[in-house]
């Protein structure tokens, strides 16, 4: 059980969204640089070095923290790019660096002892042994938990480790273990680990065909929509496939995570911080989600039940369908 207040950690894809998140009540915001050093490397997204410094000033001025994601894996012969990004993050006055690669963790631990090191979900550290390894070698202070753990498993984990934990509570759900998935590079040549992207936009095509609109990735049909149906983005693992004689959303239904109803459960399980996913989402979305979770978290910290977060946020989820994900064991 955490006795201190849980932290609300919110996505900041651009300077404008950072300001919106802070003003909506975020305790901390997380962001990345405009290159492959972070796992949301989309066109038009993220921060320049100056924008980060300005964002840190703004956030600190409003009492919020800034965490910089340098959470992809450095490329062969180009490790310096990632090291420089870590240096820039430290110089900007940010409060923590979120990393996954041994090379990046080692560089920060050796050269920037004053900045907190958080372990990214991309490091896929889901056992006490793995987490303690990172803590012992790099002085990691917090681990972002993979979304595959149930509440009981999280509680057991917190009892077994000294490091803080941060759990996702809202947003897009990755069904595969993050940081160890190459589905995207198999189809498109680009992946989270190689390039900081998944199902990259330049390989997306929407083809109007007689039987509807086909959403394809590198020519592989990911889904098909009838006329009048809203189309979705063809993220590989959210598609419809044929296996064993059945057609279905085999890997995951296109739902998103909403664990708003589990805030007190997560607090009871010893979680330090709640994380909202969505650096690629707009200001409107982020403001609304952060405000709702701020309200819910404040209610729980005051000893009450979480206000009806489900209802507040139903409109904001992908395909307007939600799940509490792996936190409930029946997800498996």
């Amino acid at each position: 059980m955490t006795t201190t207040r849980m932290e609300l950690v919110c996505p900041a894809g651009t300077p404008a969204t950072l300001r919106a998140a802070v003003q909506a009540g975020a305790d901390a915001v997380y962001c990345g640089f405009r290159d492959e050093t972070n796992a949301r490397n989309f066109p038009g997204l993220n921060f320049s070095r100056d924008e980060l410094a300005e964002g840190v000033r703004f956030a600190h001025g409003h009492g919020s923290k800034v965490l910089v994601a340098i959470n992809t894996f450095a490329r062969v012969d180009e490790v310096d790019i990632w090291k420089k990004a870590a240096d820039m993050a430290a110089e900007s006055g940010a409060d923590a660096i979120i990393a996954a690669d041994f090379a990046v963790l080692e560089h920060v631990a050796k050269n920037h002892k004053q900045i907190r090191l958080h372990l990214s979900v991309q490091a896929a550290a889901a056992t006490p042994e793995a987490i303690e390894f990172y803590a012992a070698h790099f002085g990691v202070r917090r681990v972002v938990l993979p979304r595959v753990l149930s509440l009981q498993e999280i509680a057991a984990l917190n009892r077994a480790i000294d490091v803080e934990t941060e759990a996702f509570v809202f947003g897009g759900l990755c069904v595969m273990i993050e940081g160890r998935c190459y589905l995207s590079s198999y189809a498109t040549g680009k992946s989270p680990n190689l390039n900081g992207v998944c199902s990259p936009p330049e390989m997306v095509s929407y083809d109007e065909e007689p039987n509807g609109t086909a959403a394809r990735l590198s020519g592989f049909t990911i889904d098909r929509y009838e006329r009048g149906q809203p189309v979705g983005y063809p993220t590989l693992c959210k598609g419809k496939f044929k296996a064993g004689g059945k057609t279905s959303h085999l890997f995951e239904d296109p739902v998103s995570l909403n664990a708003g109803g589990m805030i007190s459960g997560l607090k009871g399980a010893g979680v330090t911080a709640l994380k909202i996913e969505g650096r690629q989402r707009g200001k409107g979305y982020v403001s609304e989600v952060v405000r709702a979770f701020r309200k819910a978290l404040d209610a729980v910290e005051a000893g009450g039940d979480a206000v009806d977060v489900d209802r507040l946020l139903a409109g904001q989820s992908e395909g307007a369908r939600q799940t509490a994900g792996a936190y409930e064991k029946k997800w498996r």
């Binding site: 066109p43 095509s205 989402r281 707009g282």
Partner: protein, 178 residues
């Protein structure tokens, strides 16, 4: 006979929102606006990155013409073209004028509009994303585009946004809509 799923028709007075100020035709006027914006807010065009040299076809379905926009900073260009002259654009964005303007002023969310098919977007998805993320961060107001400041800016913003808001409400409430 209008189909049951058609979007609201644009009331006549909204069409008169488009000025021809100082005798300049629309294309050159918007070109100068965009270049002036580039001077005042270079960060926007840096954010667009390589996609600033892409050609964006904007087709408001309720106007008789369309635009070809190349948002290349101080070398930006906006050309008014006929509807069948949008081929060859890297991205084609088609939709009701009010909805398109709503994207610009942040009233409407690009994702929601795109995925619900009120706007249709085709072409290079990565250029679309770059544009969308840049507009999201830009927090543009009409005064930005017209290069106005201070009290005049506030009047125009309230006026145009207010008019847009009124126009939207009018359009939504017009009789005979789906």
């Amino acid at each position: 006979m209008r189909s049951p799923n058609a979007e609201p028709l644009l009331p006549g007075f909204v069409r008169r929102l488009f000025p021809t100020v100082a005798g300049l035709p629309l294309g050159p006027l918007l070109t100068l606006s965009l270049r002036s914006l580039a001077g005042r807010r270079p960060g926007l065009f840096e954010r667009l990155g390589e996609y600033r040299s892409a050609c964006f076809g904007i087709d408001p379905v309720d106007l008789a013409f369309a635009f070809r926009v190349v948002p290349d900073g101080q070398r930006s260009s906006v050309r008014v073209v006929s509807k069948d002259n949008t081929a060859g654009a890297d991205v084609l964005i088609r939709g009701p004028l009010l909805t398109l303007l709503g994207l610009l002023d942040g009233t409407l969310d690009g994702d929601a509009m795109f995925f619900s098919r009120i706007i249709s977007i085709s072409g290079r998805t990565e250029a679309v994303l770059a544009l969308r993320n840049t507009i999201e961060d830009a927090e543009l107001r009409p005064s930005d585009l017209l290069g106005l400041h201070g009290i005049l800016a506030r009047c125009v913003d309230t006026g145009v946004l207010g008019t847009l808001g009124a126009a939207r409400r009018l359009a939504d409430n017009s009789p005979g809509e789906a």
